[in-house]
């Protein structure tokens, strides 16, 4: 049954500075207490271009493109997410009497093999200096309108709430079969190896129920997020997605109709070999077009065209404001209070 209401988020990537405050807010709130959640970042920020988190999630596939659904591989916790480790502080802090001749024990990292972490290729980027480029992509569960994880679960443990369209895993019904992880092309469901169940971003539903924004959005120091309901024509998300049409979906070709939208990042112009500025943005639009689009059936060229159009809209509106005129779009993109960006 389709959801009656659908909560949506728009993230303006022009403002993301990869401070990980969203990640830490989410981690502290939801995945810091129970066992087996150490590798989970329900919200993560990754540098693009990069392998992402879990490693190479874009190429792992999902329910949308595979006939043999058992053939989809699962990300391993060490190699895929990066198993967390700790310095041997316990050993270092423990003393057993005053042996002055013993050399001081210093903390040493306990590295696992194939070490990986949620922001492994931070600030690495591609291109050649001075035309090297990268940008930051914060990701949560997309709370898709057509969620493949719901279809994938043989026990109907994953469900989409009617009242706000949030996708949740029923922790009592889940038996840890992990079909949902295989099904999700964004790999935004995590397996808890200690409790042997799957867990995922809950869009902070207890807060949404109290008409407060989810934590990744409210804690964001760059104030990049807009949160609201898809049918609320007064909300920032409606205006950005439906009215100004500047927000795009991440990998719409996965055919899941994700409800987290992104405003693709503008970038300064690239240099020529002789040091002159060109017309082209430093982040190639073709590269952005591989990530962002409107609908599954759009071709890459159409997506490039669309992103250029969005850049044109934003720059034109910015010009207007520079001349002293007012612009609804720029006012939206520069929200001053929490009420300006969160309308739930």
């Amino acid at each position: 049954m389709p959801a009656q209401k659908q909560v949506r988020m728009v993230a303006d990537l022009n403002k993301c500075l990869e401070c990980h405050t969203c990640t830490m807010a989410c981690k502290t709130m939801w995945t810091d207490r129970n066992k087996g959640q150490m590798h989970m970042y329900w919200n993560n920020v990754e540098s693009r271009p990069g392998k992402g988190y879990p490693k190479d999630w874009e190429t792992q596939g999902g329910w949308f493109n595979t006939k043999d659904k058992n053939s989809i591989s699962l990300p391993y916790i060490n190699e895929g997410y990066g198993a967390p480790w700790e310095y041997n502080y316990d050993e270092v802090f423990k003393t057993d009497g005053g042996d002055a001749s013993a050399s001081a024990l210093v903390p040493k990292p306990k590295l696992t093999e194939n070490v990986y972490a949620s922001n492994w290729d931070e600030d690495v980027g591609e291109g050649n200096f001075p035309n090297s480029y990268y940008f930051y992509l914060p990701r949560i569960c997309n709370h898709c309108s057509d969620p493949p994880c719901v279809d994938a679960c043989p026990r109907q443990a994953v469900y989409k709430r009617k009242e706000d369209g949030i996708v949740l895993v029923d922790q009592k019904r889940c038996r840890g079969y992990r079909y949902c992880i295989k099904g999700c092309p964004y790999k935004k469901i995590y397996y808890n190896p200690e409790e042997k169940i799957s867990q995922k971003c809950i869009f902070c539903y207890p807060r949404i129920e109290q008409h407060r924004g989810n934590l990744c959005a409210t804690q964001c120091v760059g104030r990049i997020h807009h949160v609201g309901f898809a049918d609320d024509t007064e909300s920032g998300v409606y205006k950005l997605v439906n009215k100004w049409k500047v927000a795009l979906r991440l990998h719409p070709e996965f055919k899941t109709e994700p409800n987290v939208f992104y405003i693709a990042p503008l970038s300064p112009p690239a240099y020529t070999l002789t040091g002159e500025l060109t017309e082209n943005p430093r982040i190639p639009v073709e590269m952005l077009a591989k990530l962002f689009g409107d609908t599954p059936d759009q071709s890459l060229d159409q997506r490039v065209e669309r992103i250029r159009e969005i850049f044109h809209i934003i720059l034109t509106e910015r010009e207007k404001v520079a001349k002293g005129e007012s612009s609804e779009l720029i006012d939206l993109l520069i929200p001053h209070s929490e009420a300006d960006r969160i309308q739930v």
Binding site: H20, T23, M24, K27, T28, T31, D32, M38, H39, Y41, N44, V45, G82, P84, W85, E86, Y89, D90, V106, P107, K108, P109, L111, V115, A117, S118, N119, W120, E122, D123, V124, G125, E126, G127, N128, F129, P130, S132, Y133, Y134
Partner: protein
């Protein structure tokens, strides 16, 4: 002890030095190798991260890593700290001078170094 609350950046767990791909190729070192950063003052060992955003001829290292995170040396080894008058007040916590270890302002951040592959095993 919950292990994930350390900043995500530091979950990588070891000091990184960034280098341009051309520089790395010229020295025959590849991504994630252990490399020695050395000059006449001293040597430190760090993991290499190859990134095209670094100009040729420059290497970059973030953070003041704790001494125990290095396999050899401390982050002041190639860049000796000079005594500042404020460090001579003495006896006030970090306000003291200790050669090549830790000072309140290790701000001599630029120096000439060579980078080569380390013989240490990771």
């Amino acid at each position: 002890m919950a292990g994930c609350k350390v900043p995500v950046e530091v979950t990588e767990g070891f000091p990184l030095v960034y280098l341009n791909p051309d520089d790395a190729a010229a020295r025959g070192i590849s991504d994630d190798d252990l490399v020695e950063i050395l000059n006449d003052s001293g040597t430190i060992i760090a993991h290499l991260c190859i990134s095209p955003r670094i100009p040729v001829g420059l290497s970059l290292m973030y953070q003041g890593w704790e001494r125990y995170t290095f396999k050899k040396g401390g982050f002041q080894s190639p860049m000796t700290i000079r005594i500042k008058p404020t460090q001579l007040v003495g006896g006030y916590g970090q306000l003291k001078f200790k050669a090549n270890y830790w000072g309140p302002t290790g701000n001599q951040k630029d120096t000439r170094v060579e980078i080569r592959k380390s013989r240490e095993v990771s």
